[in-house]
């Protein structure tokens, strides 16, 4: 089917709306899961089982007074959360989210429009996504530096260190599958593994999978690598001075990134989606959900690492392992 | 002049192995108390005679068990305060005291200050071995102030002892209560002392001694003070407050010139009203006894005061145009000093009818005797004297301290007393068997002093004219009387055993006629006594007497011949071995007399300070400018004991003080008490700041409150005295200016626990004759009063009180205390 600009636009709107909603819903899920793991009930009072908590939070975030610190660089302070949110969503534009479909013809105006699974199926999809996520570094970094707060500065410094370092691991770890597939497009990855569970790249590249997962946690600023805003150490790091919807945008960005990483992991290593039918889409939803849940689970179970351990892990363990993995993959391919 | 403890009259005793000094002839318990050694004792009061009711002061002296309150110390005596046997006795006694004693300590007004509780704990009574059915005993009110709960009473008899030995009223006594008989088996099983104590306790209760339900006493409340348990309480204080909630403010009783040590006990009024009020007055009852005004006239504070600037400015204006300031004795030394300063700087007259006569008398006395002040004080009299003479004082009304001393000497020092006063009194003769009361004519006070000279003076020292004058009263007669005579008769008797004759002497009594010369002392007859009986009585009185004291009262200051009387007093002092004490009339009369230069009369625009005047400063709350009452201000007062005593503010005062006026008028230091060190040192005061004054008693009872005024003594020749001038005698209806026992001034009258009315007081017969209400007509006016019968008065003289300044009684009496009046029934 022909990809028209109107289809892409509809897809973009769907991504924005749905992912934002899912990000919001993610906060509810996170609270609930953490609560259950600690034998608590979690949010219970707003709506049935606390389901409307998200709405309450939204209302709160939107209505909260917008404060810009006196000595902050106001422009950068205001733009920083937008960068985070924007990069996260831009990254999602190159990732297949939901199956492609055609809008039924009985719907006026838009009837018959083909909506692709990927808003923009770039041939360098993987590279683009990784690049956008790397660009997301500017959000926390600028936020931390602009807010005239020492905790923010420390948070910003940690952001730079952590994101830049783990970007290396992410790139190197995913390089081996790319070598195997021979393409940077997510569609090709999907096609490569279309043969069923046995064809999943995770079996061929377990080390790359683990490395990508670890690096993904670091990239998305999740426990055990949530050093950027670890409240016991740096209050709230780069987000110290933020409140209201600006802070909310960081939050949406983070959840969007979590979804992105989950999608990449699912598509690259766990077989992706089955283009043939609805069941495949259920599968990938399940896979994404599993990765999302894993992030919450890990948060409930593990303590976070020290900054020095973080760097040590990155440069002395993960990076060498990734390089070795590439070399071995290359050798195997050559042979 | 308290007794100086020299090495001579101190002996040494050993208590529990430690050597102490004690006064010869003192009880062991008193010696121990003076030396801060603890011997348990419930019933004994330091300044009263031993009661021997509680028996827990049992000690071992030189190996023998004696009661410490009853055994006198001897040189080298060795006292052991507790042995096993003594402890057994004491514990048994405390167990007995606890039998049937209610355990509602929670509601008892003693609230932990209970000696029964203390000794029960001290002797670790934690179980009970004795029992007896209880008797129902009803709570009663003995008078308008006394509340008695016999259920709590342990019949230690401290109240009866103090009432008899100290106060003199002997208004209460032990009575039968009809308790159950003790089980006879206890007699064997119990320690001896505990049994006999219990036997008595079980039968007794305290009751008014006149057989009625009412005490009819002076309502001094000393029985309340000494009660070791909660049996006796002030009616007004019952269940009002716990002792621990009350803050004690050391102060001086404001009304009489005793200057008794008191504590105002204050606490917030209620939950909603947090301003502090005085709940009661307490005292160090082992060292000082209060009268009714000191104990019950405490809520006379000026509550309405506020800083009224307009009134203050008006006061300044008034002072600027004032010619006279009229005030009374209800004033501190500091304030008196301020008024004196006003006189010096602004030339106002100071008029004080209460003090003026006293001041004049003191000046005469000083000129005649060379002593700047009298030579003894009530405290010293109680400690030392065994013969007291009271002249010119209505002892029951004027000065409680003198009454107590007079009585205490009779009871404790085996003393004797002479009481000279025109108004007959039924109470004084009950003080002791050797008390002679002379109800003389008004104006015969000089004769009383001549009689004293006759009786006590060293005749060699007396001037010839005085001797002659005294002798002129004596008549010598020859009388034939029958007398028993014992003769020894010698006889020869045959001894039957030996057969020899022996001389044996036998005593035979015969009646013999004998001629003797009898000297009748006409002075005694003139003074209303019986000369024929007096000599024998006097001889009995003089037995074993060593220390003589004389008390002089207010009558003498207002006497027409006051100067001559002062000289006679000086002569008595010079020729007899006699100490003299004078009662300052009311409050701080002595301080005022020493500090202020008083004028004879008022004139022109007058400022009255608690008195009538064109502009009134008043601590009573009804004047043009409010002043603090004596329980609202710091300051010092001078008392009958010639001491300067510091008193403190018990209740908040919000208005202006005299010192504030002084600041504007002539300049003054910051605080009223800054004047304390500025009091005139040439009049006996010392330059000691208020905050440096001590305020305590020693264990042996010596008074360390404030300081004793410096007195000087200049050698002078014997004064020239005049004969008694019979023209001063008053005839007809006589009114005597005299307050009821607990009333002294407007402030006592304001206090809610003082009930004595402003009325004419007369003997029962006189009151009946007068009816309910009379108009008392003086030369210069009249006053209409209700008539009240006082059964302790005898004779025809009626008492007119002066405690209400507004009634102008001082002006009616003029410069005298007795006046011939016409009593008209109304």
């Amino acid at each position: 089917m022909e990809v028209t600009w109107i289809g892409v636009l509809i897809k973009a709107i769907i991504i924005l709306a749905v992912i934002s909603a899912i990000a919001g819903f993610g906060t509810y899920i996170e609270r609930k899961v953490l609560a259950f793991m600690q034998r608590r009930l979690g949010p219970m009072h707003v709506g049935p089982y606390g389901l409307l908590q998200i709405a309450a939070d939204g209302i709160k975030l939107f209505t909260k007074e917008d404060i810009v610190p006196q000595n902050a660089n106001a422009f950068i302070f205001k733009i920083a959360p937008v960068i985070t949110a924007a990069t996260a969503f831009i990254a999602l534009s190159a990732v297949p989210v939901f199956p492609d479909f055609t809008i039924p013809s009985w719907i006026p105006v838009l009837g018959g429009t083909f909506v692709p699974s990927i808003a923009s199926d770039l041939n360098i999809g993987v590279l683009f996504v990784l690049g956008m996520m790397a660009a997301g570094l500017y959000g926390p970094l600028l936020a931390g530096m602009s807010q005239a707060n020492k905790w923010g500065i420390i948070g910003a410094a940690r952001t730079a260190v952590q994101f830049l370092s783990y970007e290396v691991v992410t790139g190197l770890s995913i390089l081996a599958p790319i070598m195997l597939v021979g393409s940077l497009s997510f569609v090709d990855f999907n096609a490569y593994q279309a043969g069923g569970i046995g064809d999943w790249l995770v079996w061929k590249q377990p080390v790359a999978f683990v490395l990508f997962l670890i690096a993904g946690f670091a990239e998305t600023n999740r426990t055990p690598f949530d050093l950027l805003e670890h409240e016991a150490e740096v209050v709230s790091g780069y987000a110290t001075e933020y409140s209201g919807m600006r802070w909310g945008m960081f939050f949406i960005g983070e959840y969007a990134n979590m979804i992105t990483v989950s999608v990449i992991a699912a598509v690259v290593f766990l077989g992706g989606y089955d283009a043939a039918g609805t069941l495949g889409w259920l599968f990938i939803m399940a896979k994404i959900a599993f990765f999302f849940f894993l992030m919450l689970w890990v948060r409930a179970a593990w303590p976070h690492v020290r900054p020095d351990q973080l760097m040590w892990l990155c440069w002395k363990v993960l990076m060498p392992l990734a390089v070795v993995n590439i070399v071995i993959t290359a050798l195997v391919m050559m042979v | 002049m308290s007794e100086v403890q020299t090495v001579d009259n101190m002996i040494s005793i050993t208590i529990d192995g430690i050597e102490y000094k004690a006064k010869e002839g003192e009880y062991i318990l008193n010696a121990a108390r003076a030396n801060d050694v603890f011997i348990p004792a419930i019933c004994y009061l330091t300044r009263c005679s031993p009661t021997l009711a509680c028996r827990i002061c049992l000690v071992e002296a030189d190996g023998k068990q004696v009661y410490a309150c009853n055994a006198k110390v001897k040189e080298g005596m060795e006292v052991v305060t507790s042995t096993e046997n003594i402890l057994t006795e004491r514990r048994a006694i405390m167990e007995v005291y606890d039998v049937n004693h209610p355990l509602q300590c929670g509601v008892c007004d003693k609230s932990g200050e209970c000696e029964l509780q203390n000794y029960t704990l001290e002797l670790a009574v934690d179980s009970q071995s004795y029992m007896i059915p209880d008797t129902k005993r009803e709570t009663t009110n003995w008078s308008s102030v006394l509340h008695y709960d016999p259920g709590l009473c342990i019949v230690c008899e401290r109240c009866t002892t103090v009432c008899k030995d100290m106060i003199g009223d002997a208004a209460i006594t032990t009575a039968k209560r009809g308790g159950a008989e003790l089980d006879k088996s206890y007699k064997e099983s119990m320690p001896k002392d505990a049994y006999s104590m219990w036997n008595k306790l079980q039968k007794s209760v305290i009751a008014p001694s006149n057989g009625t339900g009412e005490t009819n006493c002076s309502d001094c409340g000393e029985c309340i003070a000494v009660c070791p348990v909660g049996a006796l309480a002030s009616r007004d204080f019952v269940y009002q407050s716990n002792a621990w909630d009350l803050k004690r403010v050391p102060a001086v009783a404001a009304h009489s010139s005793d200057g008794a040590q008191i504590y105002y006990e204050v606490k917030p009024t209620s939950i909603t009203d947090r301003t502090e009020k005085i709940y009661r007055v307490t005292n160090e009852w082992n060292y000082v006894s209060l009268d009714g005004s000191a104990r019950f006239a405490y809520d006379f504070q000026n509550t309405t005061a506020s800083k009224d600037k307009a009134a203050f400015d008006a006061a300044i204006e008034a002072f600027k145009k004032a010619e006279t300031i009229r005030f009374n004795a209800m004033i501190t030394n500091e304030e008196a000093m301020m008024l004196q300063t006003l006189k010096e700087k602004m030339g106002v007259k100071l008029y004080n009818p209460e003090v003026k006569a006293f001041q004049t008398f003191l000046n005469h006395y000083e000129a005649a005797s060379g002593n700047s002040l009298w030579t003894t004080d009530p405290d010293a009299i109680m400690k030392k004297s065994d013969f007291v003479i009271s002249i010119g004082a209505a002892l029951r009304n004027d000065s409680p301290a003198m009454k107590y001393a007079f009585n205490n000497v009779q009871k404790l020092n085996k003393g004797a007393g002479l009481y000279f006063h025109p108004v007959g009194d039924t109470l004084i003769p009950t003080f002791g068997k050797t008390v002679e009361v002379f109800t003389h004519k008004v104006g015969h006070e000089e004769l009383a002093l001549y009689l004293v000279l006759d009786l006590f003076a060293d005749k060699e020292k007396l001037p010839e004219d005085v001797k002659e004058y005294i002798d002129s009263f004596k008549k010598t007669e020859t009388k034939t009387i029958k007398e028993k005579e014992v003769k020894t008769v010698k006889e020869m008797v045959l001894n039957e055993e030996t057969g020899e004759e022996e001389e044996v002497s036998k005593k035979v009594t015969e009646m013999v006629d004998k001629e003797i010369t009898v000297t009748t002392n006409g002075l005694v007859d003139l003074l209303g006594g019986d000369a024929s009986k007096f000599d024998a009585a006097f001889e009995k009185m003089m037995k074993k007497k060593e220390h003589f004291s004389m008390m002089l009262g207010e009558d003498l200051y207002y006497h027409e011949k006051a100067e001559n009387i002062a000289k006679l007093v000086a002569l008595v002092e010079a020729t007899c071995d006699m100490d003299v004490v004078m009662t300052p009339p009311k409050s701080n009369a002595l301080g005022v007399a020493l500090i202020c230069d008083l004028d004879d009369a008022q004139s022109g625009y007058t400022i009255g300070y608690n008195e009538n005047g064109d502009f009134r400063l008043s601590a009573l709350g009804d004047g043009d400018l409010d002043m603090p009452a004596l329980n609202q201000q710091e300051g010092t007062l001078c008392n009958i004991g010639k001491r300067l005593l510091p008193t403190n503010a018990a209740v908040e005062y919000n208005g202006y003080e005299l010192n504030d006026l002084m600041k504007v008028l002539v300049g003054a230091p910051e605080l009223t008490i800054d004047w304390t060190a500025m009091l005139p040192t040439d009049r006996g005061f010392k330059a000691i700041a208020f905050d440096d004054l001590t305020n305590s008693f020693d264990n042996d009872g010596s008074d360390n409150r404030g300081y004793r005024l410096e007195t000087s003594n200049v050698e002078t020749d014997l004064p020239e005295v005049e004969k008694c001038d019979e023209s001063a005698l008053l005839e007809g209806e006589i009114a005597y200016r005299c307050n009821p026992a607990r009333q002294f001034n407007d402030f006592t009258d304001k206090s809610h626990e003082i009930f004595e009315a402003f009325a004419l007081y007369a003997s029962t017969e006189k009151a009946e004759a007068l009816g309910n209400k009379v108009e008392v007509v003086f030369d210069n006016g009249s006053i209409t009063l209700d008539v009240l019968a006082d059964e302790k008065i005898t004779g025809d003289i009626v008492k007119v009180p002066d405690f209400k300044a507004a009634k102008g009684v001082y002006d009616l009496f003029g410069g005298s205390r007795y006046k011939t009046v016409t009593l008209r029934k109304v």
Binding site: V33, F36, M37, Q38, R39, R40, L41, M44, W297, V298, A300, A301, W302, V317 | Q104, C105, G106, V107, S111, D126, S127, Q128, S129, Y130, M131, I132, P133, T139, V238, Y239, Q240, S241, N242, W244, D245, S270, I271, T272
Partner: protein, 207 residues
């Protein structure tokens, strides 16, 4: 005396009992070994399992610890010290307080005040009684000192208020006379000890 003991700021280190925490790896090789060991030992998965197990228990074995407070309340101990109650005598219905003032005296935050008077029946009557709950620290001394078991701590602990001080009057704390039959004897602070009978010595009363 030297200053050594004062310079040692690690107060009490001498008396610490060291737990067996193993040894820190010495040298790069040892560290590497430790990493490898820990990586493959699966310690991390133990942690994951523990949390998962808790979640499963909470969801399916009804092992949830949350108490939905305003709707559900935990039972409180009889020794809990909440807002005071004034008890009545069970037989006569008269209040037990005798006005002894011990609670007022012992109160360390000085929040109890009472006025008493001599009443018509010649008894001590508590004419007014307040506790300032803005100041009360609920130490329980008043209940402990009360000789009549009259003032006790009740179970009413929800006393948040918008005002700094809340005064309670005697009547507020007194058991309502119509609820006398519901009055519970207090077990907590100041109550008679279970072995009180053994500590009492008998007074001979044979008549």
């Amino acid at each position: 005396m030297g200053l050594e003991q004062f310079k040692n700021r690690n107060v009490g280190t001498q008396n610490y009992t060291m737990v067996d925490a193993g040894h820190s790896p010495q040298g790069a090789m040892c560290q590497f070994k430790q990493v490898v060991k820990r990586t493959f030992k699966g310690e991390l998965f133990v942690g994951l399992w523990v949390t998962m197990r808790s979640m499963i228990k909470a969801l399916f074995a009804n092992d949830m610890h949350t108490v939905k407070y305003p709707l559900e309340k935990l039972p409180i101990s009889p020794r809990y010290r909440a807002i005071h109650d004034m008890l009545r005598l069970l037989e006569s219905g008269h209040y037990r307080c005798i006005g002894c003032g011990l609670c007022e005296k012992i109160c360390i935050s000085n929040c109890i005040a009472m006025d008493t008077r001599y009443d018509e029946n010649q008894r001590k009557e508590v004419s007014e009684y307040t506790i300032n709950f803005g100041r009360c620290i609920f130490c329980g001394y008043c209940a402990e000192v009360c000789p009549e078991l009259a003032i006790v701590h009740g179970p009413r602990y929800e006393n948040a208020s918008q005002q700094r001080a809340g005064f309670s009057l005697f009547e507020d704390m007194l058991t309502p006379i119509d609820k006398l039959n519901l009055q519970q004897e207090y077990d907590g602070f100041g109550a008679v000890s279970p072995n009180a009978d053994e500590n009492i010595k008998q007074t001979p009363l044979a008549y």
